[in-house]
Amino acid sequence: MRKNILCFSVSWLLFTCSLLAQSAMEQKITLHTTATLEEILTELSSTYGLRFSYSNNLVPLQQEVSIQAEDQPLKLVLDELFRDKNIRYTLLGEQIILNPVSRKENSQQKEHYTISGYITDAATGEALPGATIITEKTGASANTYGFYSLRVDGAPLHLRYLGYDPFYLRLPALKQDTTISFQLQPAPFRLQEVGISARKVTDLKEANLLSIRGEEMKELPRMMGEADAIKAIQLMPGAMAGREGSSDLIVRGGSPDQNLILLDGVPVYNVSHLLGTFSVFNPDAIKNVDLIKGGFPAPYGGRLSSVVDVQLKEGNNQRFSGEGAVGLISSKLLLEGPVKNGKTAYLIAARRTYLDLIIATLGALSGESMTSYNFYDLNAKINHTFSEKDRIFLSVYAGQDKFSDKQEFSLGSVLEEQKFRMQWGNITSALRWNHVYGPSLFSNLTFTHSRYSFGQDTELKTTESRFAEEDITFKRQVDYGSSIRDWGAKADFDYAAHPKHHIRFGGSYTFHHFRPEAVRVQADSISLTTDSFSLISAHEFYTYAEDQIQLNEHIQARVGAHFSGFAVNGTFYKSLQPRLALGYKFSDNLSVHTSFATMTQYLHLLSNTSTGTPTDIWVPATDKVKPQRSWQVTLGGATLLAQNKLELTAELYYKKMKDVAEFKAGSNFVNDFLRSGPETNFANFVAPPYESRISSGEGWSYGSEWMLRKRHGKTTGWLGYTLAWSWRQLEGINFNQKYPYTYDSRHNISIVINHQLTEKLSIGGNWVYHTGFITTLPSANYKAYNEPLYQPDSWSPSIETVDYIGEHNNYRMPAYHRLDLSMTHTKKKKWGERSWNISVYNAYNRMNPYFIQLSSPGTYYKNSSQRMLYKVSLFPIIPSVSYGFKF
């Protein structure tokens, strides 16, 4: 197939010419009339000083038209006026020239050709996933890699992307399929109340999807000076945080492990730094984050409740640039730039906390040796464009938290030395190859590696000095480890088969290595090793196909299937998961949609705590523990209000889950750790194989989510409301009866507002409210068994009372609400731009319940003979400041 390739130079030419015309064409017009074209042109000339040039003999201006335009760009108004009138207009200087469309031109326009290529940022070369390219009759959006494919008939093209200047283009007559890449110009300052969004919420693909760009995320109030992707998502309807301050994500009543968190397409198993206080994603490196809560497209699978797709920047291929920030507890720096002729670009972003330095300073001031803690993360990416057809990307992420302590005790001639280390972290890497087979077929081949590990080791060394004799040394080392390592490959294809069909298909294979728990004790010559469940290898694969069909002007459907399999220990599980979605558009501004999706999850996350910790263990389904499964139906609607400035969406959902698993009561590593500190001996907490320590059962959740969002203009933000129920019924818990899930919360409200006061100053805030979580309180107490050794001259305490834990999750805690505020001042400098951000977390110092606890038996409060119930709060008002820079 022959093609005429108009490369960057041509697109730039078109782009530049169009830019010159753009300002005049952006002039706002208000016009409400029904008249002949000639009368309307006269009115436009007199009201707005426009100059039209045309020949009365050639241009038929006596046709009557009706137009309703309120504060619309001139370009849109002219398009509307001349639609189907065989009249073409061109801006020449200050004149608008009108010409008849020639027969030849007309006949050519009736022929359809496909244009394809990439849509990128003009300033950085970054791909713009989701950017739309539309004509009057058809449209397409760029995929994750910025690639689009569109069948055109000569009608003008409109390109749009949130935060970028819209781009209008009338293509010259095409004679064959053509490759055209577009570069959009970032809007320098988003003060204009532009009422048209790139991705319209009324489109079917926007149903059950929430997205937030890196820049939007950084406008939100920050906790301890750190902008955070997961915390931004937690503010959206349908998604909420677990315990206060954690990076857990509870989506539509699912548990935190049921979220597939992808970093550039690679699963990340633990997204927490500092035991959940921050997520591992460096906000400067993030381009966009999508959260899919239901109606899952066929390419996604492997988790029950959501997909969090974190897309990082690829690297600026236009110029060297950088940005960074200095916060209260960490600093970060990002550098990016082209390597050669703009064909290769790199990005490197690093972040590190200086908590260890702060602690060391405190230790030095107090004269005490103190424990050390730090975390870091690093993103490195490089991409190369071989041709318009081939691009290759290599990305690596590494992050780790490290805690260590060293103690020395001297007792007479005996010196005891204790060393303790605990570390956990992820490493992910991906090698991607984008290939364009033709104007309609795009592929992405990815090789991935992901690893999460948690390790702890203690070393105890005792040395006894003896006169004239050799010292006696005793040494014992205990290592505990848990890890998961994946190697995978996947291929995804986008095929724009027909203007009414957009087909996606592909497959993936992952080789998992699990080491759920391994302990090694080394004491002098003795070595003991145990693997509670030794190394497990598993093979996971899936294949999928999906067709997005435009049935007619109003009805859109997405029909697909996801087939997956999992082989472990001689057992093979398979699952065919239908994915269906149907949308009906009443108009461009109003639509309804429904969806059905089933999902299967072959991994379980076992945790003894109700918030995510590094000691949580990822384990596979086995012949004894079944995979988790779910099905979910949704019904929703979306509309654009206030001249398309506001998006209103609503969703109803019902989700059923089977074979969800939880740890039975048992070891609680974190509690033991906090109690025993460096002396914690994890070998003591190793228990029988996890399969015998878990309870399995079912879960249900249902509810409704509402969101009113404004993404353009001086004031942006959203109002979200969720009404939800979530239940579990697990064997051996709550006497096998159903009970409310730990994060069941009836009402959830979030208000997020950011206002650009001036070009330099913006203020923002968010307020969240949710019904209190549910917790378990003892329902009785009784006498404990004990058998003390009789000691006539001393007394040793023994436990007298047992608290009986009856009904599970039997008490609802008080409501949670919080206000955060922020103010950002930005200033241009010779070298670039700097900004100061002041944030206040929990501005009115609400003492929210972190947990509820009954006082210990035998303790008395204000002489009461009753035991008391305490509410414990953790996060008071927390002000913070951070300094950011960009060049």
Binding site: L274, L328, V414, I526, S610, S796
Partner: protein, 285 residues
């Protein structure tokens, strides 16, 4: 605890900014319906004894109510063996001792309570060999010498086994009353105990299943005086009960998940378990 420092400081190095705050919450819980509480741990060296009491409201700080009018019966393979006479304050005791490797069923009833029952099996004795005692020199001027006790514990392979250790030495009070004084022990090689109840240190065979484990204990007693080390093989119910009770007892500010204490009493609460102990004697001649 030696060596335990301000770990919280690491988690909240921002301790200047964060703090936890406790406030009292008012709550209405449903009326509590009392249930039978049965506590009994059999061993072949002691008479069969059962403690019967009633449960009470979670908020109550009162002493537990002992039940003196209960009927306590022992069964084996469904056959009635005996009824326990009440000897006072809710304690029921028979004149017999249990036998090793036998399974017993306990049934307890009392007016106003649903009948409670439970089953347990008395384990066999642990297999011990190679006893040896040495003197541990004084570690400082103000400390005396102590006793090092060595022995081999042969664990039965392919089954879960649970043990406890405790040490004591014969002593007399000022009034001439003989008693066993508790001796502090440290099991430092190669394993440590997992948790304790009073003077008993519990551990399982999860790190040495089926192996012969050479244990070294340091006993804080005069090495030239007799020190007894009691090692018992215990039932899983007893081990689990002590383990979970220990965990529940130290639930503090970060204990987010309340620990449920293991309970094997059907229609009631408490523990029905067993152990089989043997006493090893150590003394440096």
């Amino acid at each position: 605890m030696k060596g335990f420092k301000n770990i919280i400081a690491c988690l909240s190095a921002f301790s200047l900014l964060l703090w936890s705050c406790q406030t009292v919450v008012e709550i209405d819980l449903p009326e509590h319906e009392p249930k039978l509480v049965v506590n009994a741990v059999f061993n072949p060296d002691s008479l069969l004894t059962v403690d019967v009491s009633a449960s009470q409201s979670a908020f109550s700080n009162n002493e537990h109510q002992q039940l003196e009018n209960a009927t306590v019966s022992l069964f084996q393979e469904g056959k009635h063996l005996l009824d326990f006479p009440h000897i006072g304050n809710g304690i029921y005791q028979a004149a017999e001792k249990p036998e090793a490797l036998q399974q017993y069923e306990l049934r307890v009833s009392a007016a106003g309570f649903p009948q409670a029952s439970a089953i347990t099996s008395v384990p066999g004795q642990a297999v011990i060999d190679n006893l040896q005692a040495t003197v541990e020199p004084a570690r400082s001027d103000w400390e005396g010498t102590t006793l090092n006790a060595f022995f081999t514990l042969k664990d039965t392979p392919n089954e879960e086994n649970f043990y406890y250790l405790q040490a004591f030495t014969p002593d007399t009070t000022g009034d001439g009353e003989a008693f066993n004084r508790y001796v502090h022990l440290e099991s430092s090689s190669p394993i440590e105990y997992e948790f304790s109840m009073e003077t008993r240190l519990f551990f399982s065979d999860k790190l040495f299943n089926g192996e012969a484990l050479e244990l070294k204990l340091n006993l804080e007693n005069n090495p030239y005086r007799t020190t007894y080390v009691q090692i018992a093989q215990v039932t899983k119910e007893y081990y689990q009960y002590v383990k979970t009770l220990d965990k529940q007892s130290y639930g503090d500010n970060l204990n987010l998940t309340p620990v449920s204490v293991s309970n094997n009493i059907i229609n009631g609460m408490g523990l029905f378990g067993a152990y089989n102990a043997q006493t090893l004697t150590f003394k440096v001649e």
